[in-house]
């Protein structure tokens, strides 16, 4: 999953799945006290905020005492890899993405404590086991179109490398992310689209608008490119795509004289 290529740099991501397990021992007292309040919710889906904090601490980026610097209260690539391993999932598993979505994670390969807390609370889980048990529900939830759309839009921001101030998703990242996001509802046009992107390295990347519009595009167009109208308000990359596909098609039918 796109979760590779963490904060380290846009391109140089680890290609392997990562797990998270780095534990950060510090438990902020404030949040802890807050967690007690949540106990009041006597839903049968009971969860403990303390446990969530404890869980988070397992994977937290360790404090390095040598450098006087305060390390951030976050879970990074290594921690996430351990976390995934404990869940017995690949880091690029769709379900991991769903979990990150629930956390409303800002960026890949990085969970802040707050995000993690929010995610766990959202799915009412406080341990590896409970998280695992909630994943099927999450998958169900993502079937609903509105939820899916929400997740789809979130995924763009998630994919950006915020450390270098990216505003445009690099093509390779976009391709990975698209594959992942559409795991449960793959549009007919997706393979062609991704192939097109792969074949055109000169494309500088996917801006947010193009990302968002692709969902509309895939739904409007189905797999019939002939209905595409380039005078409509589609991002120009779709124009290029449709033109490219049509050219391909024409070449197959009659050896295009130009070639």
């Amino acid at each position: 999953m796109g979760v590779t290529g963490s904060g380290g740099g846009a391109s140089g991501g680890n290609t392997n799945s990562s797990e998270k397990r780095s534990f950060y021992a510090r438990i902020p007292p404030l949040t802890r006290s807050a967690s007690h309040e949540t106990r009041r919710h006597l839903s049968k889906e009971y969860y403990s905020e303390t446990k969530i904090h404890t869980l988070f601490d397992i994977y937290r980026e360790p404090h390095v005492p040598d450098e006087g610097l305060e390390t951030e209260d976050v879970m990074l690539t290594e921690g996430i890899q351990r976390f995934c391993a404990d869940l017995d999932l690949n880091a690029d598993d769709f379900r991991v993405l769903l979990f990150a979505w629930k956390c409303e994670a800002e960026t890949m390969c990085r969970f802040t404590r707050l995000e993690f807390l929010q995610g766990c609370k959202a799915i009412k889980a406080d341990s590896i086991k409970t998280i695992l048990s909630k994943l099927p529900e999450l998958q169900m939830e993502a079937q609903e179109f509105d939820k899916f759309k929400n997740m789809y839009k979130w995924a763009f921001k998630f994919g950006l490398d915020s450390e270098v101030g990216q505003r445009i998703l690099p093509s390779d990242m976009a391709i990975l992310l698209w594959k992942l996001v559409f795991e449960q509802r793959k549009p007919k046009i997706l393979d062609q689209w991704l192939l097109f992107l792969g074949n055109h390295p000169s494309i500088r990347g996917i801006p947010r608008d193009t990302w968002n519009m692709f969902l509309n595009f895939s739904e409007t167009i189905g797999d019939d490119l002939s209905t595409y109208d380039d005078t409509e308000a589609w991002p120009s990359l779709f124009d290029d795509f449709v033109e490219y596909e049509n050219d391909q098609l024409n070449q197959n039918i009659s050896k295009d004289p130009k070639q």
Binding site: R167, I168, P207, D230, A233, P235, S236, D239
Partner: protein, 864 residues
């Protein structure tokens, strides 16, 4: 007739009106019947109208109208049936029409009389019973019994048609009888044209159609469009006349339509496209009249003009395409535009003289010109070069008035240009050269041209151009002031410098600040000016722009020794190397200044004339920084761009750049004598050479050394590669009488290791020698690409600006409307491709100036 009896009866009628019996009625009828028959036999002289009228009156009064009416019908029918028809039938093959006409006239006459007698019946019986009146009854009977009687009907039709045919073939026919017959048919129709139509017109029209169908084939076989259309015109005229003269007027329209249909409409494409005589042929051979004829013929039918226009358009496009076709190595811009102007003139001529200024055709010509003018992407450049040529000093021998006419015509082409922004860019470049090198033929002409552009495109288009003029005149003032100051301070500036301060942004300055090493003398002169200028306008920045400057140099060539015979071979040994030093002298005026002559070598009097454009150093900085570019001087003008905020300048856009045209004399140099000049017959020759700033820099190098390689020159001067090459070419490879430098080896190309030395045997009849720049007509390919890139870059900004402007006004707008409005807003400058607009919209969305509305992704809203 038995008048007496009648009297009797009358008396009795009056006495016993009611008791009138059948017998009596019968006798009255007999009386009337006899009278009618007499009338028909034309024996009417003895009849008493009064008596007959009374009898008829009596019958009608006593309700015997019907008897009278049907009796009349019988009598008339009998007469026509037994008598008249026989006559007509007898004459079928002889005088048929006349006979018929007589019969018709007689019948009419008798019917008039009968009607008069039976007037009371018309008034009462006919009226009450709603039947045909007496006269019409007569017509109907005549129609049925005579005119439409079997063979008469056919014969009449055949005869009439036959006559028309004969006349069409050129025979003379009795038009009157045709006319009478037609009139008769018309009258017989009573209140309608049906009889005429059925018995004559319809067959006539279909026969005519058939005739012209055949004729068109015959005409076409002759294969000449011009002959064909003339015949058509003639035929139409003939038919119209015929209808007017002896058919019914209403037939004119119909028959003309038939002819038009058969002769024109069905064949218009064939005629128009006829090879060797069709429209193309006429256009090629300037057959104005034939075209006019073609026009008027085709204008008659629907789609005729469209067919004509299409053909003209096709040909015009072919011609136009051929003209704008790019040739190997580029086209001559002047010839290019000239040929288009001529094409335009010739089509204008056709339009006025052949096509009646037809709107459709006018429109079409405009569209076609727009089409092919824009096929060649260099059109904007060529157009500007053409105007440049007309506005530049030279031996054109054209008066200002004539120039104006040409410029007006050029504006017509300009209007067709889609990429007006590209034109603007070139125009600016060319105008800059004219202004800085003082090549304009007249300021008035320049200004007229600007005002034409302004009218066409608005003041936004020309504001920068006008700014250029302003810079020039301000520079004049500044330089005068500077000179006075110099004179007053008694400074011993050896270089007479003239600087033009150019506002950056107005002028086509290059952004790359050139580090060209200007020789000391001119450089000093410039620094003096710079101090002077900055003193006046503190906060500005002056940058030297050497590309457009020029210089006058005093040069001394020591010549060859004549004795040495072998001139050509021994050049090098016999040459005195003279170097040119640039000195600024008061511009062109100053000849060689005596002073520095002492030093051997060439004293250059460098007057520079215009110089360079200034590049703004800092693009307009915010807060009212003004950048002045100064072009420098001595030798060459370099331009300096000044930035800074002059206190007085408030607007941010006021960036001044200065072009310096320095002139200066001074100095210079060492001459190194290589060969012994002793004994030469030809003593040293002095010349003033006029060169560009770059060339000045180069030539002055030779004051310090005899020989320089290209590489060395390059590293010494820091002149940009392209400019250096060009400068060297004109110094060493130009016209033989302008070669100030000699190159070894003597090849066409310049390689880095090639070396140069002064051509001491340089001779010229002229004292003042202008080194012509290597003619570069138009831009070279890389330059053109550069221009293109700049234009594209500018367009991005313009499109974005347009989008933002529209969005500010509209707040929300659909994609398609936005694209349409942007296109509309920019069309006076260029035609933006929708894709380009789309990309700009995307970019603005990305930068969060716009957003898609959540409800409809095709609608954008403005994010303030």
């Amino acid at each position: 007739m038995k008048t007496g009896k009648k009297e009797h009866q009358k008396m009795r009628i009056r006495a016993f009106p009611i008791t009138m019996d059948e017998r009596y009625v019968e006798s009255i009828w007999q009386l009337l019947k006899n009278a009618i028959q007499e009338i028909q036999k034309k024996n009417n002289s003895g009849l008493s109208f009064e008596e007959l009228y009374r009898n008829a009156y009596t019958m009608v009064l006593h309700k015997h109208g019907e008897k009278l009416y049907s009796g009349l019908r019988e009598v008339v029918t009998y007469h026509l049936d037994s008598k008249v028809r026989a006559d007509v039938l007898a004459s079928l093959n002889n005088n048929f029409l006349q006979t018929l006409n007589y019969a018709w006239n007689d019948h009419q006459t008798s019917m008039v009389m009968i009607r008069d007698i039976l007037m009371y019946m018309d008034r009462v019986y006919v009226h009450q019973n709603n039947v045909d009146n007496v006269y019409n009854l007569g017509l109907i009977i005549f129609r049925d019994q005579i005119v439409r009687y079997g063979c008469i009907r056919d014969h009449l039709r055949e005869t009439l048609l036959g006559l028309v045919m004969r006349e069409r073939r050129g025979e003379v026919v009795d038009r009157l009888s045709i006319k009478n017959a037609c009139q008769m048919l018309l009258v017989l129709g009573i209140d309608s044209r049906t009889v005429y139509e059925e018995d004559f017109e319809r067959p006539f029209l279909s026969q005519s159609a058939e005739f012209y169908r055949m004729e068109s084939q015959k005409f076409l076989a002759e294969n000449s469009a011009s002959v064909y259309i003339k015949r058509v015109e003639l035929r139409i005229q003939e038919e119209a006349d015929r209808a007017k003269h002896y058919l019914d007027d209403s037939t004119e329209k119909r028959i003309v339509e038939v002819v038009e249909e058969e002769l024109i409409k069905k064949h218009m494409k064939t005629i128009v496209e006829m090879e060797n005589s069709g429209v193309v042929h006429m256009l090629r051979n300037n057959r104005v009249e034939d075209l006019a004829c073609m026009y008027s013929v085709l204008a008659r039918v629907q789609d005729g003009l469209a067919t004509l226009a299409e053909c003209v358009s096709h040909h015009l496009r072919e011609q136009g395409k051929a003209l704008v076709q790019e040739e190997e190595g580029g086209k001559n811009a002047i010839a290019f535009v000239q040929s288009l102007l001529e094409l335009r003139d010739s089509y204008d001529h056709f339009l006025h003289n052949s096509f009646n200024n037809d709107k459709l055709i006018k429109q079409m010509i405009a569209t076609d010109f727009e089409y092919f003018l824009n096929l060649n992407s260099k059109s904007p450049e060529y157009l500007s070069l053409f105007i440049d040529d007309k506005l530049k000093k030279g031996v054109k021998g054209m008066s200002e008035g004539e120039i104006e006419v040409v410029l007006d015509k050029t504006m017509v082409l300009f209007r067709f240009l889609q990429e007006k922004d590209v034109f603007e860019r070139y125009y600016k470049q060319h105008l800059a050269k004219r202004l800085l090198l003082q090549k304009s033929v007249s300021e008035d002409s320049e200004k007229t041209m600007i005002s034409k552009l302004k009218t066409e495109c608005g003041c936004q288009f020309t504001s920068k151009l006008e700014g250029m003029f302003k810079d020039v005149s301000i520079s004049n003032t500044i330089n005068n002031e500077f000179k006075q100051r110099q004179a007053a301070s008694g400074g011993n500036n050896t270089v007479d410098i003239y600087v033009r301060v150019l506002t950056s942004g107005y002028w086509p300055t290059t952004l790359t600040t050139s580090k060209t090493n200007i020789p000391l003398a001119p450089h000093t002169a410039f620094q003096t000016f710079r101090r002077f200028y900055l003193n006046k306008h503190s906060g500005r920045q002056l940058t030297l722009q050497p590309q457009l400057g020029s210089a006058d140099l005093n040069a001394i060539f020591y010549g060859l020794r004549r004795d040495d015979g072998s001139i050509s071979l021994n050049i090098s040994s016999n040459v005195t190397n003279s170097t040119a030093a640039a000195s600024t002298s008061s511009a062109p005026a100053s000849a060689i200044t005596p002073a520095p002559a002492a030093t051997a070598g060439v004293g250059g009097s460098g007057g520079f004339d215009g110089t360079a454009a200034a590049a703004p150093v800092s693009d307009v900085g915010g807060g009212g920084g003004a950048a002045a570019a100064v072009s420098e001087v001595s030798g060459g003008g370099a331009a300096v761009a000044v930035t800074g905020a002059p206190s007085s300048v408030t607007s941010t856009s006021s960036v001044a750049s200065v072009a310096l045209a320095p002139t200066g004399t001074s100095s210079v140099t060492t001459a190194s004598v290589v060969g012994a000049a002793s004994g030469s017959n030809t003593g040293p020759r002095k010349h003033i050479i006029q060169v560009s700033t770059y060339q000045m820099v180069i030539v002055m190098l030779f004051n310090t050394r005899d020989k320089w390689t290209y590489e060395e020159i390059q590293s010494e001067t820091d002149i940009p590669e392209r400019d250096l090459l060009r400068a060297m070419q004109s110094l060493a490879l130009g016209k033989p009488n302008q070669r100030v430098l000699l190159k070894t080896p003597k090849t066409k190309d310049i390689e880095p290791h090639h070396s140069f030395n002064v051509n001491d045997s340089f001779t010229s009849k002229l004292y003042r020698v202008k080194i012509q720049a290597v003619a570069a007509k138009g831009e070279s390919e890389p330059e053109r690409k550069e221009t293109r890139t700049k234009v594209d870059e500018d367009r991005k900004h313009e499109i974005e600006a347009a989008i933002v402007r529209i969005m500010k006004a509209r707040r929300r707008i659909t994609h398609n409307n936005l694209v349409a409005e942007v296109t509309d807003l920019l069309k006076s400058r260029f035609v933006p491709v929708p894709l380009l607009i789309k990309k700009r919209i995307e970019s603005l969305i990305e930068r969060e100036y716009l957003a898609r509305t959540p409800e409809d992704r095709k609608v954008y809203s403005y994010v303030a």
